[in-house]
Symmetry: C2
Subunit: 343 residues, 2 copies
């Protein structure tokens, strides 16, 4: 009952297989009445054009690969994925996902097997740098390589990233401009196997503070680094509370640190913005609910933009701008306030 092929449909519709093929893939080349006949016959026979067979002939796989460092369940990754989907799905592409390309062993596995070779039309790399040797291997699969939030553009045909450093510099400057004197930067330790784009944020914070000091500002700042893991926020909380003096401002590497801090510090009597200002980064889940002032970035839009570039590259079209860098946006809400020193 299920296996009817293009020949059966052709016979049923009284046309050639060429016409059946065209009726599906280039409807405009077929007279409407013929097309209707074909489509009707196809439906009756439970037929649909086979993607794989077409692929074989055309050399287009209609598939792209997406390499991610962590799991797709993270806020950033899920939104990048959805953004890619929003343009690739309608263009007829599937996304073949490769998660956890972050440990030494998963990376080696991937880059030596190179399972995507000859099997995808483009490769997206989200949020990590590829080292020179890996880049050379990727090049050999001979399809466009598009980066999303990558630390450097070498070896990518196109990319869409945010300027993490400038973003965090803006965040710190905002706190400084508010008059804060004692600012701590709460962040998770950098991974040793991958050069996460997120690490640039720490530099932005430090630069802003040093600039302010050079300009004569009397501020005191420090970086509070806690181990990576599921309890980043709790570690940060503990570190913060055991400081000799509680800061008047906290600059967080990401909302995922800031939000728990806001909620939990409250239980210890530290209320924002009354007692301290705090700023996040991402504008992710619940940032609005928590009324968190933060630096907004839009990974969904980044994914969509990256996908549009990929489509052009696949079609051999030139790009207006190969590498796009976006500025995260200071989003003012309720966790920041001017600081008035208690004399």
């Amino acid at each position: 009952m299920n296996t009817s092929d293009i020949h059966d449909v052709a016979k049923a519709a009284g046309v050639s297989i060429s016409t059946v093929s065209r009726a599906f893939t280039r409807p405009d080349l077929v007279k409407k009445s013929t097309r209707d006949k074909v489509l009707q016959a196809a439906d009756k026979l439970n037929f649909n054009i086979s993607r794989s067979a077409g692929t074989l002939k055309t050399g287009r796989t209609n598939r792209v690969a997406l390499l991610m460092n962590e799991e797709i369940t993270s806020w950033f990754n899920a939104h990048v994925f959805a953004g890619l989907e929003s343009v690739l799905h309608d263009a007829g592409y599937d996304i073949s996902l490769y998660q956890h390309i972050d440990t030494a062993s998963t990376r080696r596995d991937f880059f030596t097997t190179l399972p995507v070779r000859r099997n995808v039309d483009a490769v997206f790399v989200a949020s990590f740098a590829v080292d020179p040797e890996e880049a050379a291997q990727l090049k050999r699969i001979n399809v466009p390589i598009i980066g999303i939030n990558i630390p450097k553009t070498d070896s990518f045909d196109a990319s869409v990233s945010i300027d993490d450093e400038a973003g965090m510099r803006t965040a710190a400057q905002h706190l400084i401009a508010l008059g804060h004197r004692h600012i701590v930067y709460a962040c998770s330790a950098a991974s040793d196997t991958i050069d996460a784009s997120i690490d640039a944020r720490g530099r932005g914070f430090i630069n802003a503070c040093e600039d302010a000091q050079r300009a004569g500002r009397d501020i005191q700042w420090q970086v509070l680094t806690v181990p990576r893991g599921s309890d980043i926020a709790d570690s940060a909380l503990a570190a913060l509370l055991s400081l000799p003096e509680f800061p008047d401002a906290i600059c967080c590497q990401m909302d995922m640190i800031a939000i728990p801090l806001v909620m939990k510090l409250q239980r210890y009597g530290h209320i924002t913005p009354r007692d301290y200002s705090i700023i996040g980064f991402d504008d992710s889940h619940y940032a609005d609910t928590a009324n968190l002032t933060t630096m907004r970035q839009d990974p969904w839009a980044m994914g969509a933009a990256a996908a549009r570039k990929a489509l052009k590259l696949i079609d051999g079209e030139p790009l207006d701008e190969a590498h796009t860098v976006l500025r995260p946006q200071l989003t003012l809400r309720g966790t920041d306030a001017p600081f008035v020193p208690q004399s």
Copy 2:
């Protein structure tokens, strides 16, 4: 430089194309020395077996479809997807995603085009019911149909769901057992186009309350329904605050309602668990941070279980249990407390 096919590799390795094919897809059938020769030649020629060509011959597409009502960025969907991936990726499958199969028009589009026909080896349907006519159409694609959190199992070959009704009944019973007298159920309005599994939760709440009353409990309960949309929690907050009398317990359809409520009610002087108990459902983002007592479900595990069933079905193997129903688990944290009426 890039287009070498199986023949080139065969020549370079001094073997037949059959051997090359086997070296990749059934390494165990090829002598190790031969296999090494082939793999080496392949690497030199920048070759890798083409999935599409294999597909054509074997009839296996190595692709499955996943139908979702909303976007993959939602907590539930992202975790289901990751769970599916965790078993399907290694089995060699890609997931072809169909999002937003929820409005009348996207549904009709999908079910009349049936783009997956002959193009996938299985279809997963997450979190919505298919109506009888749609079911009939799905059947015609002649591959296993697996449901994830579907309201009824008719027309599915297998499924993994949670018992939403029993889960919410447990939640309500917990509140009742704590001695609460005035309980409100905060939920979003049911969608009119799809029969979301989530709607069963409301029934669970009502049943628990009615049972308690029949058993002589002196409780007062009501259902607070707010329109769907991004500001569900704010609508619920407003509705709650405009009640003639503030309840002593709130039972929420999902954590996404409970968490903002906990945070915002606080600003109005209602502190949990001091002034009221509140329970969520899902154990999603920040439930632990918010210290929210909730009913836990594990969509990642559900996705993984569904994927394992699909694999068996594809291989024609029998299932130990076609339809699995999981019980969400009462997860006690800090937003519930015994209720002592102020005399």
